[in-house]
Symmetry: C2
Subunit: 213 residues, 2 copies
């Protein structure tokens, strides 16, 4: 109410339009922006002001849509985990043999790079730190489910003779998991390197190795 009230900013800096599209749409927009920033700069290094800037609003306005910065990453991660578990269970439900199921899991993991690149990166980079807090205990639970799905397939393959019986399912699971979840670090959506090529090469190495037979 002081004399200097409107001298600094004119009315022109206001967000131009405010269409009514339902809050879910705007929330999803803001989450996508936040996810991209969390993925590219890191969760801690990304400020609520960064997110708001990118969205063309002020930081305080974010709190009309979200309780906290933490609830944003919560939403991003839980959505990603639900999707991933569903896609894994879809592969299992096809009822194929161990080798084809294993290949299906690798394939669907790498394919999710296209639509969930930022979420994978966030999961890969931040989940370890977040999992300690009670709010994010579902991360540990999901982690265990993932491990069971992969190791079960590997064990079945060893039993059926399709996989070599010298492999340690737990260790090989870690290798494969780290491999497929780390690819989004260098994969660029829309680039000339197509996901199908990555899938081909990765499947070739993981299933048959680099050596000529």
């Amino acid at each position: 109410m002081a004399a200097t009230k409107k001298t600094v900013r004119g009315g022109s800096s206001r967000a131009p339009a405010r269409p009514r599209r339902g809050e879910a749409v705007r929330q999803a927009e803001l989450l996508a922006i936040a996810a991209e920033l969390f993925a590219d700069r890191g969760y801690v290094a990304t400020t609520v002001r960064d997110i708001a800037d990118e969205a063309g609003i002020l930081s305080g306005s974010l709190y009309h849509h979200f309780d906290s910065k933490e609830s944003m990453i919560d939403e991003i991660l839980s959505t990603f985990i639900d999707q991933t578990l569903a896609s894994y269970e879809g592969v299992i439900a096809e009822g194929k043999g161990p080798k084809e199921t294993f290949e299906g899991l690798v394939r669907t993991s790498l394919e999710s790079m296209v639509g969930s690149r930022s979420a994978i990166l966030i999961y890969q980079n931040e989940a370890r730190f977040l999992a300690a807090e009670p709010r994010f205990s579902y991360l540990t639970a999901a982690h265990r489910k993932f491990e069971k799905i992969w190791t079960d397939v590997l064990k079945k393959g060893v039993k059926s003779g399709e996989f070599r019986d010298s492999i340690d399912p737990k260790l090989v699971y870690r290798l494969v998991r780290d491999t497929v979840w780390t690819a989004p670090r260098w994969y660029r959506p829309g680039g000339s390197l197509k996901p199908e090529r990555i899938i081909d090469q990765y499947l070739a190495v993981l299933v048959d190795g680099v050596a000529a037979h």
Copy 2:
């Protein structure tokens, strides 16, 4: 000089001893502490007060040994890169064939987990963000050297017929690199899982794949 001077903290909270061991020793100690925290909590999330607490001193005292928080991670990363490049060149210098050289590179990468676990984690987690700043341009340079070393070996293997000619050296390099550098995320030094077992399993999969021949 006020009356309340020594009421809050007695003399007992002071660092107990101050032996003269040369600054290099104390610096290395503090760097080890910092590296552990950077690796376990992330660089941004780790405060200079965290590091000082762990060292049993006050945050300001850190600046007797280091210019800045940034110079600490700089020291950690450049040391790690020098070591790694040296170990890679050592493997190359043995003059073995492509397959054995490839195996040697995998082996030495995984072996470095024992002595450089925290440094690998920091490199893996933070280098991507730091590389943008001029001070850390050596990270990009090292990245290129690593890529050349690995892809050269893979290309030679394809040429000699030891590796399948369908493999894409650049993509397979990424797979292998991501695999060996991500292992420190779950590897626990001193645990029952010995590095030699990890090396065995990882070499088996990378060279020959999971499938029975």
